[in-house]
């Protein structure tokens, strides 16, 4: 490859594709390199829920800014990207969870996010297949869903259109400006960005990123069975506890009438095999909220690996004085959502373009509490 690139992005998942796309939009000639198909990796396995989250101020800012960027992109994306503003419904099983929902409502209201508290009756009307007797819930009105692999492909086409390129190869090592490929080839660029998802630490060993396995199943078509992305409020406890294994109810209506049901979280499992035990657990959990779901047919189950960090925030940016790539990894269960914000931040760091995001919160040099770093 004789052409000199301004930037090389490692990884063709949603984070790598977003970074490549954002950089090329700002005039850089970008080479995107990956060893899996476009949109493969965790991106292919994930649910595609674009969710504004309130679990920390930093997570809120990144998800909210990303949601804005998704909204702006909405009309540019091809129809196969299947963007749908179905909203999220957080389900409160009891009074305690309903109070939590009200607290969240206040948080979101203060920050200009459209939300609505539902009581027992209104949640039953909103989602007739939920069991009766639930305390209520919180609707996040502008949350959406998208089919990520198609977005990845579209982004890389844009990159190519702007003079960039895509290369399928495994990267064996990388510095800030150089990349070595499996066949021995060495590539130079102005800067290298690592968006390798859960296996990023294979290239940069200090990264405190651990694979966290998840299981999902997809149903046959049942149009109208569920209308919003449904998530139990208990999900937050699960996502943030670092227990070895947990499961939370999470259901997504696809535009085809199919539904995606998740999800589990497991540390310490390396094989991607579908574990019957975990699938059973995911389904049992769902039946607690939607008893009728038991009779629906599943056409397939699969797994994926999230890139988990100790503080549940992604790692975005480079470390000063260390000759290693600029990082864009560690997005755990929100990388589809936060890919666009991440890319904006990377572009800002590398080109000085404006962003409202505060890089310090996601910095590679932050204190990970004894994990990684120096």
């Amino acid at each position: 490859m004789s052409t000199k690139f301004d930037a090389i992005v490692i990884g063709l998942g949603i984070v790598g594709c977003s970074c490549a796309w954002a950089l090329s939009r700002r005039g850089l000639r970008v080479l995107a390199v990956g060893d899996a198909p476009i949109g493969g990796g965790a991106t292919a396995a994930g649910m595609g829920h674009v969710a504004i989250m309130d679990d920390s101020e930093a997570q809120f800012r990144l998800t909210a800014r990303s949601a804005e960027l998704w909204m702006e992109l909405r009309d540019e994306l091809p129809p196969e990207a299947a963007v749908d503003y179905c909203g999220t419904l957080w389900i409160a099983a009891d009074e305690e969870e309903l109070n939590a929902a009200k607290g969240k409502h206040a948080f979101y209201q203060k920050r200009g996010v459209r939300t609505e508290v539902l009581d027992e009756q209104s949640i039953a009307e909103a989602e007739p297949n939920l069991r009766s007797g639930l305390a209520g819930g919180l609707r996040i009105i502008d949350d959406s869903i998208v089919y990520p692999p198609v977005v990845c492909e579209w982004m890389l086409k844009e990159v190519s259109r702007r003079g960039g390129a895509v290369k399928f190869a495994h990267v064996t090592s990388a510095t800030r400006t150089q990349v070595w490929l499996g066949d021995g080839e060495m590539l130079n660029a102005g800067v290298v960005v690592l968006a390798g998802g859960d296996i990023s630490a294979k290239l940069c060993g200090w990264l405190p990123v651990r694979p966290r396995k998840g299981h999902l199943v997809i149903t046959d078509r049942y149009p109208g069975f569920c209308r919003h992305e449904l998530v139990e409020l208990g999900y937050l406890k699960n996502a943030h506890s670092h227990a070895t294994e947990s499961v939370a109810f999470n259901l997504q209506p696809r535009p085809t009438g199919q539904m995606l049901l998740g999800s589990s979280r497991q540390y310490g499992v390396e094989h991607a095999e579908v574990e019957a035990r975990m699938v059973a657990w995911v389904i049992e959990r769902a039946k607690l909220y939607m008893p009728r779901i038991g009779s629906l047919r599943v056409v397939r189950a699969w797994t994926g690996f999230r890139a988990a960090t100790p503080d549940s925030l992604p790692i975005i940016g480079g470390r000063d004085g260390v000759d290693e790539p600029v990082m864009a990894t560690g997005h755990e269960g929100l990388g589809l959502t936060t890919s666009l914000g991440t890319a904006e931040l990377i572009a800002s760091i590398l080109t000085g373009a404006r962003t409202t995001l505060d890089a310090a919160a996601y910095s590679a040099s932050r204190d990970f509490g004894g994990h990684g770093g120096h």
């Binding site: 198909p37 046959d220 019957a276 035990r277 039946k287 779901i293 047919r297 599943v298 056409v299």
Partner: protein, 445 residues
């Protein structure tokens, strides 16, 4: 859920599974025979009571094997030295924990997309035969039967016996290719799926080599079949099939080795960015389960027989089933005695495969706007823009619908030369309840 113990579980009650059950029982083993149809017999003996079919049916019923019909095995796993089968039936879900398992899961049809194939009235050959066996009335209906292989004749004969008017049987292979094959037929006349008898019952029907259906035309349903030479035939239905593809999904899920060869030139087509349309004119072979000379797969305790090893027809399935049954019952010595017979059957099957190898023309019938994946409405143009099966799945959702690529996967493999091998459980759609109920079981009581 507590798993149910079995010494030998046989999945599939076609000729291969029936023979396996009978052989294993004859050695005194305890046998459970599972099949998703209402009765034993598999594809070829479905609702057939006479002749060999009747004989084997009787034999298996007398054998003392426990027969369970209407049971779908949707997952298989090797755990703790045993093989677990996860099953669903109208009665509910079950886990069977077997010492040994024989996979005799048979084959399905290869359907290659052509313009108009999604019109109502266009069927797979075997599909239409099954519908008629289940009561569909074809009396007086004008039908063109097209595609490839001896099944065309079998089905045309069957339909004509049921009162259909067969307008034409279009075989894509050239007549010259049949010469060696005809020799084989002369030596072993009973072979070509009851060939001789079949020809007699459809003696007046035009049987053309080097002919294929290029397009189906119609409004709300099919009205015309357009042949490759431009001839237009008025029809009420089209039955089309390009041969068979072995059902290797369960074997793949349990982890057995499967070889994929996209072309008879011996080129292994891996998932990669490499080849598009390779030279397939010499024939396409799909995934085949690898077994040793007594039917053992690469997974201990799991045996395989019949069509998943490569399309072989009834006789091959019977021999291999018998061998697998013996081996499963630890009588490899008996199985070994059948090795020469199996070799002969397989040689015949390979001759058959060569004779009916698919020509490039029938792999290129789909136009850019022709639907290839019916579940997800994916067109040929969108698939052709991709580099490999996984990419096509990700970007177009081809093969991601309810059939999970059972139909379009083989067609895409044939047309694009890609290896299609990403099977995950459940191998058949199954209720959430069944998955939940069977997921916990890891050991028997």
């Amino acid at each position: 859920m507590r798993a149910e113990r079995a010494q030998i579980a046989v999945v599939g009650a076609g000729p291969a599974g029936i023979a396996a059950a009978v052989a294993a029982r004859s050695c005194g083993a305890q046998v459970l025979l599972l099949d998703d149809n209402p009765d034993v017999g598999g594809q070829v003996w479905r609702r057939v009571q006479s002749g060999a079919a009747g004989g084997w049916r009787e034999r298996v019923k007398q054998s003392g094997a426990e027969i369970r019909s209407g049971v779908t095995v949707f997952d298989a796993a090797r755990i703790g030295g045993r093989v677990l089968l996860r099953c669903e039936s109208a009665a509910g879900a079950r886990v069977i924990d077997a010492e040994r398992v024989v996979l005799a899961t048979g084959a399905r049809e290869l359907f290659l997309p052509f313009p108009g194939w999604t019109l109502p009235g266009v069927f797979g050959v075997g599909g239409l035969q099954a519908l008629v066996k289940n009561g569909l009335d074809v009396r007086g209906k004008r039908i063109v039967v097209g595609g490839s292989g001896p099944l065309l004749l079998a089905v045309a004969a069957y339909l004509s016996e049921r009162g259909a008017k067969i307008e034409l049987i279009a075989e894509q292979a050239e007549k010259s290719r049949m010469l060696g094959f005809a020799g084989a037929m002369v030596r072993q006349p009973g072979k070509i799926w009851q060939g001789a008898k079949l020809r007699a019952s459809i003696i007046d029907v035009e049987y053309r080599f080097g002919a294929w259906i290029a397009e189906a035309r119609g409004d709300d349903r099919v009205r015309q079949a357009v042949m490759n030479d431009g001839r237009v035939i008025e029809v009420d239905a089209i039955a089309c099939g390009y041969g068979l593809v072995g059902n290797t999904q369960l074997a793949q899920v349990v982890g057995a080795d499967v070889v994929h060869q996209a072309s008879a030139k011996g080129k292994d087509s891996r998932d990669g960015k490499s080849q598009k349309r390779t030279d397939l004119s010499t024939g396409v072979s799909y995934g085949r389960v690898v077994v040793d000379d007594v039917m053992r797969t690469s997974v201990e305790g799991v045996l395989c027989a019949g069509e998943p090893l490569g399309i072989g027809g009834v006789e091959t399935s019977l021999v291999e089933g018998t061998m697998a049954g013996y081996t499963a019952a630890s009588r490899d010595d008996l199985a070994r005695g059948l090795i020469p017979r199996r070799r002969r059957e397989r040689a015949f099957a390979e001759a058959l495969e060569r004779a009916f190898a698919l020509r490039e023309d029938v792999l290129c019938l789909a136009r850019p706007e022709t639907i290839v994946c019916r579940c997800e409405d994916v067109t040929m143009a969108r698939i052709a823009a991709c580099d490999h099966w996984r990419g096509a799945k990700l970007l177009t959702r081809c093969g991601m619908g309810p059939c999970q690529g059972r139909v379009c996967g083989a067609a895409v493999e044939a047309m694009m030369g890609w290896a299609v091998r990403d099977v995950r459980p459940p191998v058949f759609p199954v209720s959430m309840n069944a998955l939940a109920a069977t997921g916990g079981a890891t050991e028997a009581e």
